[in-house]
Symmetry: C2
Subunit: 157 residues, 2 copies
């Protein structure tokens, strides 16, 4: 993610909030889909829970590398594109849509590769300044979010 | 997973236990690896946390379909095999090694495809009757485990 804290407040996001927001997301998603793609790493836990909730075993992931620090400013490489030969409606999920660079590029690559598949997008957080809005999201991000999967595992017991 | 409850006790496995066991797993893993592959869906949350802990962005997933219910008894199809052209040491993770059918097939396919890469395996749970033991695991499974990612999201608030 390119979104770095400047003077923003850091906000810990515990598992309990993630669970409540994921349930909230399922209330908002008014669309039937057959497959889920997690943008790795951020969307992986979300994809797993959604797969369980909707009883969808077609849960995949996709990888991206951003080149913010190089001359290829803002460019994103997308790889490990899942096989979608039997998919019709695919939900792409991520923890946060920040700049939107990643989501834009993932959608572009997937729609080029699978022109007959319908792709929609969902995230827990969305930053208003992003260049693309997900079809569904739960919270607007105005703080630096310390997701439980980052914070909890690094904390000493 | 083919392992179905018969007369086994069902045991709820909350996020807190998952976190403690994941930390325990990091204490046990005495090996340096550069990439993580989650067996989807079960290994996805574990892979995300381990990726954060080890600061590894090369977190991928792989998919399998079991054919236990058909004539192709016990056979497993492996697909969405990640690109591993720069990987040397890869940790494959799953929530539970049950019959071992999935892990055996995933290892076979990956080792055939990437003969110079070293693959090792880790799981939270391991059933002694499995045909393969993971290199590292935390708990022996003697109950039917109700993982939080299955139970919590289906529970009404």
């Amino acid at each position: 993610m390119s979104w770095k804290p400047t003077k923003m407040e850091k906000c810990y996001y515990p598992y309990e909030d993630f669970l409540a927001d994921t349930k909230d997301l399922t209330d908002k998603i008014d669309w039937k889909f057959d497959s889920i793609i997690a943008i790795a790493r951020g969307g992986m836990s979300l994809a797993q829970l959604l797969g369980e909730y909707y009883d969808i075993r077609e849960v995949y992931s996709i990888n991206t590398i951003g080149y913010e620090d190089t001359t290829k400013l803002g460019s994103v490489k997308v790889f490990n594109i899942p096989e979608l030969y039997e998919a019709k409606n695919v939900l792409i999920v991520d923890d946060i849509v920040d700049s939107g660079d990643t989501l834009v590029e993932v959608l572009k690559v997937l729609r080029q590769m699978y022109p007959t598949v319908i792709f929609k997008t969902a995230s827990l957080f969305y930053k208003k300044s992003a260049k693309i809005a997900p079809d569904w999201y739960v919270q607007e991000a105005d703080k630096w979010i310390g997701f439980f999967w980052t914070e909890d595992i690094k904390r000493k017991i």
